[in-house]
């Protein structure tokens, strides 16, 4: 066991301390037992939940703090050296610089309010109301001009949720926001007949920006809402006291809109799905039953007497038909046979016999007639021959011969005469033709005219006088004309010398 004097021990501790904490260190804590010495040095204790440490800040250091006056209860960060005061036998923090720890204070207040309200049971799960799945109208307590309400409404639109929104516009920052928010929460929170949910909402910001939602008054008012509440404050990582008292905490305004819309979107989908499913099931069930019914009915029909009767009737009809066919065939056969027999019988009947005999008789008779005729013919031929011989020998025959000769002569005579006549005719014809050309009418045919006056032919210009009527004969008629002048032709070789 080591033995020390008080001084030795204290000095050893001092050396240990000051060896361990050589440089400046920063310590966070809350100021208490604060006092200022007449010399201007600051004496106080820094403490947290469990421990405390003595601090001294000399006047020089204290004077350098311009914008901060320390006081009891402040959360601070003190920077300085850890020293051991040998005379007093204690250790202390020699503070050189000290900053107001706003974050620390924030959390201190936060924790205080949280602890208090939690103790009162305001966070109890049993207190939480259920936010309806299908809100019809929602109160939104937020700034009407903030980004939060914009996000909320856009999301609502995009998600396809349908509900009415009342915007209770309030400032959402600073001490001045507390009263309006509390008022809005009190009013809207009581309107259970109007609202299905109340959303307290603010976009993201610094811890200080969000501080209003850690205010005890605000949290209490929010907690007191009879309408189910939703808190949507800041970003995902931000937590406020209001989040703890809300019936439902969502991370952001967007998340609040999504949550409130989900019910509607799901409800529409569910209702339609259920209806469709039900109709399918019902139809299936009906089809199954119809099919079963059809099958059973078919079975019943097959087993029914009527069906058997019908079948038998069909069979009967078939048999009847084939029977009839058989009978017809038999009858036909019999008929044929009968006709044959009848033919035979008929051929054996007395009438047939008589007929046959008559035919035979007719045959004999015709033979007899033929033969008789032949005999007669033969006699006749002989008679003719004899007659011919007789006639050859008759005087008539001779006479005929002579007659023939006479005729022959006659013929010769006629022929020769005719021949002569033809010859004369042949000689005559050219003469006649010549004569014909000399016919004055033929001249007319060639276009010559015959002129006559006073019924006499005019052969010379001297045969006429002026105003005599002339008749000029042409091939196809006459022209009557008067003599209007005459001129005697000078040529002497003309047939008709023309003289004037």
């Amino acid at each position: 066991m080591n033995k020390y004097t008080v001084t030795e021990l204290t000095r050893t501790v001092k050396q240990l301390f000051e060896g361990t904490f050589k440089d400046n260190i920063a310590v966070k804590g809350e100021i208490s037992s604060f006092s200022v010495s007449p010399a201007g040095h600051l004496y106080f204790v820094l403490k947290d939940e469990k421990s405390q440490i003595k601090c001294v800040m000399f006047k020089g250091s204290a004077m350098s703090m311009r914008d901060y006056n320390p006081k009891n209860g402040d959360s601070v960060e003190a920077i300085g050296e850890l020293t051991v005061y040998e005379a007093g036998g204690n250790y202390q923090l020699l503070v050189k610089r000290m900053d107001y720890d706003s974050v620390g204070l924030f959390w201190k207040l936060f924790e205080e309010v949280k602890r208090k309200l939690e103790a009162e049971g305001l966070f109890d799960e049993s207190r939480k109301k259920t936010v309806p799945l299908l809100p019809k109208r929602v109160a939104v307590v937020t700034s009407a001009t903030g980004a939060a309400i914009k996000d909320f409404l856009v999301t609502m639109k995009n998600t396809g949720g349908v509900f009415a929104v009342d915007v209770w516009s309030v400032p959402v920052q600073g001490k001045d926001a507390i009263a309006p928010i509390v008022k809005a929460l009190n009013s809207a929170g009581a309107m259970t007949h109007r609202y299905d949910a109340l959303v307290l909402m603010r976009g993201g910001g610094s811890l200080e920006d969000l501080a209003v939602f850690n205010e005890e008054q605000v949290a209490r008012a929010f907690s007191a809402c009879a309408v189910p509440t939703v808190s949507a404050i800041g970003h995902e990582r931000d937590f406020s006291i209001c989040d703890f008292v809300a019936d439902l905490r969502v991370a952001t305004p967007t998340a609040a809109a999504t949550h409130l819309c989900t019910g509607y979107v799901n409800a529409v989908r569910d209702v339609e799905n259920h209806k469709k499913r039900m109709a399918e099931l019902m139809l299936n069930r009906l089809y199954q039953n119809v099919q079963r019914l059809d099958m059973l009915q078919a079975g019943v029909i097959a087993a029914s007497p009527l069906h058997r009767i019908n079948r038998d009737r069909q069979r009967l009809a078939y048999l009847g038909k084939s029977l009839m066919a058989d009978i017809k065939e038999i009858i036909n056969k019999k008929n044929t046979h009968l006709s044959e027999l009848a033919g035979i019988l008929q051929s054996l009947s007395p009438a047939a016999r008589v007929q046959k005999d008559r035919r035979q008789l007719d045959g004999l008779l015709s033979v007899l007639r033929e033969r008789t005729q032949t005999g007669l013919n033969r006699v006749s031929v002989r008679t003719d021959r004899l007659h011919a011989r007789i006639s050859l020998l008759s005087p008539m025959r001779r006479a005929e011969k002579y007659m023939n000769n006479v005729e022959r002569f006659e013929t010769r005579m006629i022929v020769s005469t005719q021949k002569k006549t033809a010859e004369n005719k042949a000689r005559l014809e050219p003469l006649m033709a010549k004569l014909c050309t000399l016919n004055p009418d033929n001249l007319l045919k060639k276009g010559y005219a015959r002129v006559s006056a006073n019924g006499k032919a005019v052969r010379s210009v001297f045969d006429v006088r002026l105003q005599d009527e002339l008749e000029i004969r042409l091939k196809d008629g006459y022209i009557s004309s008067f003599v209007t002048g005459r001129k005697v032709s000078e040529e002497k070789d003309g047939k008709d010398p023309d003289h004037d």
């Binding site: 299908l134 009013s187 809207a188 039900m278 099931l281």
Partner: protein, 75 residues
């Protein structure tokens, strides 16, 4: 709240669909359930269709009276 009623109706509708799906009900019951289900479905749909999407700004509130105006969405 009528939304509670909606949820009740939807729940009933679900139960009916489940029963129909089980196929254990006889045909008369089946038809009855189907008709009831269709009626519920129609009512549910009507309730959904009756909800109006409207955004208003609260001007003042006096007791239960709330005065609102058309909210000009800052979109």
């Amino acid at each position: 709240m009528s939304s509670e009623k909606f949820e009740d109706k939807l729940k009933k509708l679900e139960v009916i669909v489940e029963r129909l799906e089980s196929g254990e009900v006889d045909i008369e019951e089946n038809l009855k359930l189907f008709q009831e289900g269709m009626k519920l479905g129609k009512e549910c749909r009507k309730m959904l269709d009756d909800i109006e999407s409207k955004v208003s700004r609260v001007l003042s509130a006096d007791g239960d009276e709330v005065k609102t105006e058309q909210f000009d969405e800052p979109l």
